[in-house]
Symmetry: C2
Subunit: 202 residues, 2 copies
Amino acid sequence: MPRTKKDVVTEFRTAEILQAACRVFAEQGFEQATMAEIARVAGVAKGTLYLYYPSKQDMYWAALGRSLLELAAATRLQVESASTAEQKVHAFIATKLRYFEEHRDFFRIYYSEVGRALCRHGRAARQFDDLYLEQVKVLDQALQHAVRRKAIRPIRTDAAAFALLDLTRSLVTQRLRGLSRASLDEDIEFAFDLAWKGIGHR
Amino acid sequence: MPRTKKDVVTEFRTAEILQAACRVFAEQGFEQATMAEIARVAGVAKGTLYLYYPSKQDMYWAALGRSLLELAAATRLQVESASTAEQKVHAFIATKLRYFEEHRDFFRIYYSEVGRALCRHGRAARQFDDLYLEQVKVLDQALQHAVRRKAIRPIRTDAAAFALLDLTRSLVTQRLRGLSRASLDEDIEFAFDLAWKGIGHR
DNA sequence: CAGCACAATGACCAACGAGTCATTATATCG
DNA sequence: CGATATAATGACTCGTTGGTCATTGTGCTG
């Protein structure tokens, strides 16, 4: 029998704390963020945090992981359900831009995590990396297929996939920094246009 | 009268320590790097570091700034001395890829610093940001000129410049992570090809 | 309402690391 | 060589912060 009352409250607190953590990690980065500050933002005492998450690291990975998996799943779904190569590339870019637009705090954490990929740090980072490379692979396979079908010119699809992921991130960054005055849809079309002409449609 | 003997030794020590700092900051990131570790790598005592740099921050910015200015200057020179838009874009990409290939530790620091651009942190970061945006501007102006001359199709040159900078970074990252088995020149041509077709030659 | 189980609290602790400075080593020069 | 100035050292200080836990608060149940 599920103890509904208790479970609901617990779930609520857990989410509430996670949201506060998201905010603080996004603003300060992992190292600069303090548990005291997260507690303050969440409106609870420091000790309470540890009733829901065993450590700062765990909290961080909880904040990052949830959205990361959601985004990865959405991207895979959208890309794989698109029929043509053109639509797949478009779906890849559009899904990510739209998701990040709606989850800005997540993007900041994601962005700073990417920045640390070149410094080695603990096992948990590998999990992030795996998911990151998996996203490249999704796009890579779509491109490989397109090359075989001669829908695009023959290029190094893996390198192109990696580049397109970074291109997408680039546009999101511009938006977040307030450097883009265009609408979201315009930015999506811009990125897609650049990408599609770049990899060479026929 | 320049006290040559003393000055030479001082200069040598300063450089030696800076190199060690570069190594450690590249491997660990700013936060994780400790002065003790830098001292160990440099082969001096911790206190000695403070005879040459007043603080960890200062040391970090010394390590980052020197190369950053050098790269910025080289890029500006190469881009401005190229005559056609095509050559300018090529020069931009090639200069950066070549420089980063030769200064991998610098790239790692640079890369992680870019990742923190979305979290606010002290005045000094603004200096980095200014230089970063200045690089975009160099490319932007070349693209604007090209658009006016109808050498490329009319696009948002600022967004394209930003994207090309990120595309370049993407290729360097792939090389550093060992994901590219191509030669440096091949990667340069690949990036240029993608970029040039993307922005649309005529 | 009394008693109880458990959630919340925040003072506290221990570890860590930036930065200091009294002491020691080294180089220069008369 | 001895005196003196300067460079190098590393044990130490002190503020910070992740994590703990004895105490306090809360709500449920009989």
